[in-house]
């Protein structure tokens, strides 16, 4: 089972992945309690109501933490980014400069993953 197959049967987040194909980042927010969450579920993980909506995110955030691995051909950066909307998500920072750091402002971009998902990544703003 590859990652895209796994995503396909996690029905909660279907619209998230559909939007990602056209390079739009959605964030899940509950209409009952008003809280945003990540990763998207159809049942709110805070108040457990069924009233969750996926709406466009600003695409701006800040780096909460990161780990930098220098590869022969590129700098690989795994990170947690805190979105303007509130939730913190696991991602990567692409084209990162050497002084990339916690607290840096970042903007969303998208990358095709090898097994067929288009996934949100970030670059320094």
């Amino acid at each position: 089972m590859n990652i895209a197959d796994i995503a396909e049967v996690q029905f909660d987040a279907a619209s998230f992945w559909e939007a990602a194909k056209t390079h739009r980042l959605l964030v899940a927010r509950c209409n009952a309690c008003g809280e945003a969450h990540y990763y998207p579920r159809q049942i709110c993980p805070f108040c457990r109501a069924d009233d969750v909506e996926l709406a466009p995110a600003s695409g701006r955030g800040t780096i909460y933490s990161l780990s930098v691995t220098e590869r022969p051909d590129h700098r690989r950066v795994v990170a947690y980014v805190t979105l303007e909307e509130g939730p913190t998500m696991m991602t990567r920072i692409i084209d990162a400069p050497q002084d990339i750091a916690i607290g840096d402002a970042v903007t969303v971009d998208f990358e095709a993953s090898p097994d067929g998902l288009t996934v949100p990544v970030f670059r320094r703003t």
Binding site: I3, A13, F46, I102
Partner: protein, 383 residues
């Protein structure tokens, strides 16, 4: 009050299991622990194992060992599972479900050619959001270290002291994979794997296994081994909380206080601690969450040899731990309990044995500290 006791403990001496199957390692470890206790396979009426055991839950291993038990448990929280098993065995014994519980662990990632642990790809709801980034376990723990450094000013040199202490202990363990004593400079000058973690911040990859035998106090008193009682236990799972992640606190902040409360003791009473050490940062975060120091003060606590037996306030991982000795199946919880039992019996290497060691703590962290993980804490007492 009657307390369950750990009467048998065995650490498989191999570190590279060429030509030995995982099932065989489990059974060799079981045989060693039962022999240590003065019991036989026929005495076992409870069996505990986790995901490293081949097959569905305990079924295949029970068949392989040809055991028939009246109680079983295959709770899996990664490397901390075996501490959970000790606690669950004590609970099962207290409620009369079994009298002699056998717990086994084994694996051969080294012989199988595994260089570093990768997160398994499972059809879980989180997988599509994490797996595409293919974060290695070092990158995951690197993020924990980076955040701890950012919030509290923790340094690579402070983290290095944890490895330095482990190496001081490992020099006396003839089975340890890394027996050379290292300095803070050695650690911080070793190659960076994933910043801020260096190669020497990481544990070894080793084959092997271990087993424990837990019995009722009545059975334990009929045997000739020193009585090591389970005085307190705690377990907890922590996860990214739907996007409200806090990487500097672990599930030990729940499992630790529960174990201390049940035992009726405080961190200041603990004479020896086995702390799961997949990475140096794993130890630092656990020490803070368990209450050995304030949150954020772990760096100062571990510095200047404070974890070295005979020198520091809190001797830890006197077998060399996962950082230097052994990390069988990439799951370090079993060996944590085994060394705590050695210390409480007075059977640790004389160079690292803690004087009059009558109260010890063992702590495990399983899964990934940066996402979903399970912590388990045991407080063990020599009676």
């Amino acid at each position: 009050m009657s307390r369950a006791c750990i009467v048998g403990a065995f650490e498989h001496p191999t570190r590279k299991a060429e030509g030995i199957s995982v099932a065989q390692l489990h059974m060799q470890s079981a045989r060693g622990a039962l022999a240590d206790a003065g019991l036989t396979f026929d005495d076992v009426d409870g069996y505990f194992c986790a995901g490293d055991a081949p097959g569905l839950g305990p079924m295949s291993m029970l068949e392989y060992m040809n055991l028939n038990v009246s109680h079983f448990d295959s709770t899996d929280s990664g490397g901390s599972a075996y501490l959970v098993h000790v606690a669950h065995a004590a609970q099962a014994i207290a409620t009369g479900k079994c009298n002699v519980a056998l717990i086994t662990l084994a694996g051969r990632p080294r012989a199988a050619g595994m260089k570093s642990a990768k997160m398994p790809l499972a059809p879980t709801p989180d997988t599509p959001f994490e797996a595409p980034h293919a974060a290695s376990i070092v990158e995951m723990y690197g993020m924990v270290a980076a955040r701890h450094m950012h919030e509290f000013g923790t340094t690579s040199e402070q983290l290095a002291w944890i490895k330095v202490a482990a190496s001081h202990h490992a020099q006396h363990n003839e089975n340890a994979m890394l027996r050379n004593v290292v300095t803070v400079e050695d650690v911080v000058n070793s190659p960076i794997v994933s910043a801020p973690l260096h190669r020497l911040d990481c544990c070894v990859v080793s084959d092997g296994g271990g087993a424990l035998v837990v019995t009722s106090e009545a059975v334990a008193k009929s045997l000739s081994r020193p009585l090591v009682a389970v005085r307190g236990s705690g377990e907890a799972i922590r996860h990214p909380s739907a996007g409200r992640i806090d990487l500097t606190t672990s599930a030990a902040a729940v499992s630790g206080p529960r174990a201390f409360s049940e035992a009726g003791v405080t961190p200041a009473d603990i004479k020896y601690a086995s702390i799961y050490d997949s990475f140096t940062i794993t130890v630092l975060v656990a020490l803070e969450d368990l209450g050995f120091c304030e949150k954020g003060k772990g760096g100062a606590f571990v510095a200047d040899g404070n974890l070295i037996s005979g020198i520091g306030r809190l001797p830890f991982n006197t077998d060399g731990g996962g950082l230097c000795n052994n990390h069988p199946s990439n799951r370090g919880g079993m060996t944590k309990v085994i060394e705590a039992v050695r210390q409480l019996r007075g059977e640790a290497h004389p160079a690292v044995q803690v004087a009059d060691c009558d109260l010890a703590l063992a702590h495990g962290t399983g899964g990934s500290l940066a996402t979903r993980h399970g912590s388990a804490t045991l407080i063990l007492e020599r009676q």
